[in-house]
Symmetry: C2
Subunit: 393 residues, 2 copies
């Protein structure tokens, strides 16, 4: 069989990520590769660190992108902060809390689960109860923005509780970074990981992480070796460390880092708070349109992520057929439900570069058109005016 | 501080990798991102698998690129095949055998080291002695092409020994894939990992791996969970598995996979054996030029990697100054020595797209020019004619 070059279809990405990558970022990605120990590359790495510190609102020097996707960022946090026998309070209100539990257990540590319904924010009361009941716990772990449900949890309050009970906090910010308010230092987040393919609209494959002084102290005091060589911060920092000397650990993903640099430059140019506000206002426009059509949200108002809208499906409609038609007829990707929400919701992303007014209108128009054609019980003709009014005033 | 877009210098990459990425690959890299669960992307993944099977000369269905650099590919092999308490014979004749030892120990297993001098191939006799002395060993691990020294070991013979003593073989082919003869099925390699940034001339950040039936059987019979969630093959295969159904594990590095696809299409177009022959003939031209200049190789003839030439430094010359001047004056990157060879050798790569006749002549000319200017004791005027004769006949 002869295989030829692959030319992907041109999609509009409004699922749970990856989001549409801006042409500026794709262009940076394709710049000529240089060596991972090239002095010019080192200067760029310093800039990536500075830009990430801004995006995360932290002064921590231990801030850099792990050379692998968000799941590896998660593992970096758990593998470095936990030792066998430790106890961790893990909050679960969606898929990714479950993945945290897997990580804890594979480190030989014990996960105490705090469960909330999928679509609900993490309950600070339940967390406090668990912290009280488990004075042996050394870490509290939770998801700031649950990509599987669209729920935003109160990271500031949860981190304060962690410290009150002498725990470090590990926070999943894969979907929040760049899309929702996130203040690592002000909120006292000790270890955070994110992804590049959500609200940064960079290509997938890197995971920004950051560690507080307290977390770094914990890592220094380990008695057991980190079980992963690739993710061992003691080793990685010889390459990403702050003193300018860069010794080889692994070959950095040079071109992906060009792309991350460019997406962070764009975030800096827009301004972090402006980016948060853009996600928020476009969410309101999408919401107005969806509600005018008769669709609802599963997450209570107040906990809704602007960048990930988890939307109900009209009765009698096969949600997979709708997604297939949107992809086939409109080259529009929206997301399916995950885990216990599979088949019950759509996940409509408004992330990074994908979060723009044209996409809101396009998505509403395409969805209304397909649903009407399938005979769904929705209100037609109301969605676009409702969204237009909010988007364009 | 305002940070602006990064425009890298245009280098010629003749170090130990990354190598120069072909414009076709950079162009593929920058194609519009689509979703990691998009049906079109799934078809491309199938093609990547087929192309990798060709490049590795294997029919194994468990052949795919890990979403992280070669070091993570190494860890994938060890973390999945080892359980705590296992014994592994690890051959060390350079940096990467040492990294294997780290991996073995972090899995809670015992590494029995078989040491050879840096620059020498792994000794099959020593390996057999170790296998005899350690009947409890379950795995033999060695580096096929030692990037730190430029030595090629006899993978076929070593794998036959492994099987004779009832061990699985884990083989590091980071630098050999696409540049030197490598036949996974014929040689009975059980687990292999490689990198994309060497003789495939793709961007760094992915690690092709493949596992034999025997290795898959071992993984199925595990009694302990794989300690890494991200690298657990039982989970990864739900996404990369052969049955067409792709369930979400992590967000694949979509654009890097476009690039790998294109680089593998190019390898298929050239032909695998033609690519091996190209590396070999250009190595001979470079060697003729270097020897005419008076420089020598540290690896004995017969064990030399064509794609990685470890070259001696003229007496009294500060090798780092030479590299700096090559980079500054000629935008030419060659590599430094690593580990015990630091300061003692250069590593000149002829990998993938970088392995072309113009680069051989350019590198010799630049090196001769800088060395002459620094007053090194070399023969001048002889290198280019010697190389030209071999390259162009």
């Amino acid at each position: 069989m002869v295989i030829t070059s692959f030319n992907p279809p041109i999609r509009t990405l409004m699922g749970p990520g990856p989001s549409d990558v801006h042409p500026r970022v794709l262009s940076a990605l394709a710049r000529p590769t240089i060596g991972h120990l090239d002095p010019s590359f080192g200067l760029m790495m310093d800039e990536v660190k500075t830009l990430l510190q801004y995006a995360l609102q932290t002064d921590s020097q231990l801030t850099f992108p792990v050379s692998a996707p968000g799941s590896a960022g998660m593992e970096t946090c758990f593998a470095n902060l936990l030792e066998a026998g430790d106890t961790v309070i893990v909050c679960q209100n969606g898929v990714f809390g479950g993945r945290m539990k897997e990580n804890v257990e594979r480190c030989g540590a014990i996960a105490i689960m705090v469960e909330d319904d999928w679509g609900q924010a993490v309950s600070p009361q339940k967390v406090e109860d668990a912290l009280k009941a488990h004075p042996e716990a050394s870490v509290l772990a939770f998801v700031h923005a649950e990509t599987s449900t669209g729920a935003l949890s109160d990271a500031k309050t949860l981190c304060a509780l962690a410290h009150q009970y002498d725990c470090l906090s590990i926070v999943d910010a894969v979907t929040s970074l760049g899309g929702s308010e996130l203040r690592v230092d002000d909120w006292g987040i000790d270890a955070i990981y994110s992804g590049t393919q959500k609200c940064l609209s960079c290509v997938p494959g890197l995971s920004p992480v950051s560690f507080s002084e307290r977390a770094q102290e914990r890592i220094k005091q380990r008695t057991q070796r980190v079980q992963s060589w690739f993710l061992d911060l003691n080793l990685v920092m010889a390459y990403w460390g702050g003193d300018g000397a860069r010794s080889y650990h692994h070959t950095a993903p040079v071109n992906s880092l060009y792309a991350l640099h460019e997406s962070l430059v764009m975030l800096q140019q827009e301004g972090l708070e402006q980016a948060w506000a853009r996600h928020s206002s476009l969410h309101l426009a999408l919401k107005a349109g969806l509600e005018a059509m008769g669709l609802g949200f599963i997450v209570p108002e107040g906990s809704r992520l602007p960048q990930l809208n988890t939307v109900t499906i009209p009765e009698g409609i096969d949600e997979a057929v709708v997604r297939k038609r949107l992809l086939h007829d409109y080259n529009l990707e929206i997301g399916a439900g995950l885990g216990s929400l599979a088949g019950k919701v759509w996940r409509i992303g408004l992330m990074g570069h994908s979060a723009n007014a044209s996409n809101v209108m396009f998505c509403l128009a395409a969805l209304e058109s397909v649903l009407s054609d399938m005979g769904a019980n929705i209100h037609t003709g109301a969605a676009l005016p409702a969204a237009q009014k909010i988007t364009f005033g």
